[in-house]
Symmetry: D2
């Protein structure tokens, strides 16, 4: 099996390499990722400018690594079409430090990279962890390994979004199928200046007045807060019932990984 | 009513101003759009760099115009939070020359700009037209006017995606509620060089072997090919049943605009 | 005569248009300038990516205006080769708010744009003013007009760098031929963060321990501090004796403009 | 001695590492270079946006390597102020594949990086080679080693520009002090399109009608064509008489390196 790994934080981010470590024994892994941090770019593609690639020193023996001067989705498309030695069987993106849930899914470059696999006909999975999780964690690695092995056995299209809770909500209690929570974050602007040069920062923050208590019990946010790994399908066109069987097998595998670690 | 207009082709694109012309009598219009063409960037936001804005010469009297050095979504967020004189009642984006249907929705900056309104709690609508449509067309303007007036009367969140057929499939037969067609486009890479400098272009093209005949009759692609305006909801979390009432009223208004033009 | 006007602060900066106003009666003026602020980019050219241009609304009747998605030097090269209706007789850049003297000349986009004219065989002049000067000032306009008319009468290559003193050193006492002061500015780094995102700002500041008193009397910096307009040649290869005659005629014209204003 | 190495082709370009190899025994070497190819940006600095740095895998043991998301000059300033463990004694940039002579000096990022050292008070040297030279060549390495050792012994400011002839003009005959040839290159524009998207490429080419025969015998271009290494000073303010003693010692050392190789 040939697995393409990408992310949105850039090829130098250590968590990308922790993902590679976690799944390296499942097949031939190749890394194609942006050369710079691209958080927040979602599904953006570079359709109007040349895209360049450099093969760079890999951090894992036997895993070729390509730094793409472009978006996460560019890196995945180039990985599939140009850089891999043969057909790619799965695209796995992450580990993103920061959950991609509720409306964040839409601007997540981790999901954007996974979509680039999915929309080109290759089963894909995005992996994100909550605030302050150690991405070298042994249980995390084992759970990712389990989920990835399901994806590789899967036939047909799929896009699975897997999120692990914040560090404070560990140890993991298990995995659950979830739906995205409704709007929970909003974008705010902060005027700033550097010398006489005026500009804005755009930031995401919790919507004022929205509380965790008001969110659906089966939502991604609530599951994470309860210590459960959130698993759902973002396959397009989006339909909560898609990828049902794959999601169930991932949940079983993640549950096993968690159980065998305690 | 205060209406924010944006697009992804940049503030200099004439079709943006044809949208402004079409809806100018519905309220106080303000334009906040990227200063450069950003096609293909989807929902991307600039969360890690300063974002700058210039007020520029407007092409329509009484409509303030702001060129944002950033993504379509940045332009909308800044428009809502900083540039408009008061609360924005609706975000309308386009007119995009090129349909945003099937999987294209995910990389469309026209939709990305509309999402930025929707995810910040403001009813939003994206307007796109097929290949070679004249964006100054009188029926088009009238249909957009009708759809926009529905959006302005709507209470609560919404994100409506409105597409008009290719020029060759005009005159318009009416409007229909649709669902996004399944994967219909894929991304390919074209190696190229400029002097000794090697790079790739990334392009979208029809998936080999997929034919129009295989697509669902109620899909956006089939409706457009049959000469009907496609209207559906992309409100998040995506659910085909959302915005039902608003969509019906838009369809009625567009139908009226078409009928009264013949 | 056909005059190309550019700058590095971008086509929306009012001081560019004050330069156009000052020289508009000397010939056919065309504006080709970056669409964004490019301060600090010096002579940078875009040799590895596509460069795009939009014709934009001009602020002066009869003066076509082109916004280039690139560097100041790109804007000048495109202006000369593609945008002007015929051969360009002179390139004039500015008005830059901030003097381009001593080592600043090397990173100045105002000079960079002028170099692009000069290196392509067209007489060029860069115009900069000190801190807080009102770029609509009548004497300034008259002095620029005088200098520009000399440049237009000049035969052969040239690159003249004209600087006006800080507002606090006005009224102008006259013009002088100068040499660039030795190193007077240095680059410092300021670590900063935005959320968890760490980065640096690079800034230019006076070299610690260097005083105005230690600088040569005929240097640009000392002349400006004494209330004199600084005029010198930056034609390449740099040679203090170049453009001697042109510089003398500019000095006479600027002196006249100042004299007739008092 | 602490030596900062940079370039404009980016930290992944092999010729940068061949420069490191050539001088590694002369002191503590640190690499701080752009993460992407920045050819043509000259002295450009990033004064209006955050600049980010990643420590990356070095290709030479004991040589720390930093990839800067910015211009060559940014990389040098950050290297001097933030990344090196102590005061930097010399900045050496290259090896640039392509000569930086005549008017090319002004847009060369290799020179731009060297200027960033020089203008911050640190002796600097730019090293470039003509078309098709093998940058692992043993004589080249030995000549660079000789030149670098002179720079390290030098007291006071300096900026030396060293160019090696095209491959076809090898073996090297010796080194010479030169002056920059007058205008020899010009910028041309090539309209191009990608789909419906129109743009320009900007290219440098020989000025039509200028022949090598018309150039001064002591010019950089003529020396290179005759098989001699070109050495001159670009210290600012530019003055052909500057750095005389340093240049002579470099010429002697390069001559020795060449002699001992035959």
């Amino acid at each position: 099996m040939r697995i393409l790994v990408s992310n949105d934080d850039g090829i130098n981010h250590p968590a990308l390499w922790h993902l590679v470590d976690a799944i390296a024994d499942l097949g031939d892994v190749i890394v194609s990722a942006p050369d710079r941090n691209c958080s927040g770019v979602g599904t953006a593609m570079t359709l109007h400018n040349p895209v360049r690639v450099n093969e760079v020193r890999s951090r894992v023996d036997g895993v070729p690594a390509f730094a793409v001067q472009g978006m996460p989705a560019d890196a995945v498309v180039l990985g599939i079409r140009e850089l891999a030695d043969g057909p790619v069987d799965a695209v796995i993106t992450g580990i993103n430090p920061g959950n991609n849930v509720t409306t964040n899914v839409l601007v997540s470059g981790t999901l954007g990279a996974a979509y680039a696999g999915h929309l080109n006909g290759i089963p894909a999975m995005a992996v994100s962890v909550g605030y302050k999780v150690d991405t070298t964690d042994r249980v995390l690695a084992s759970a990712i390994h389990g989920a990835a092995s399901c994806l590789l056995r899967h036939e047909g299209q799929a896009l699975v979004n897997v999120n692990f809770p914040w560090a404070e909500d560990w140890p993991l209690k298990g995995a659950r199928q979830t739906v995205p929570a409704p709007r929970f974050l909003e974008d705010v602007t902060k005027p700033d200046r550097h010398g006489s040069d005026e500009f804005y920062w755009i930031e995401r923050q919790l919507v004022e007045g929205v509380s965790f208590d008001s969110l659906p019990a089966d939502s991604d946010v609530v599951s994470l807060r309860s210590g459960f790994v959130s698993v759902n399908s973002m396959a397009w066109p989006i339909d909560p019932g898609r990828d049902e069987q794959l999601i169930q097998s991932i949940i079983e595998n993640v549950d096993s990984a968690i159980a065998s670690s305690s």
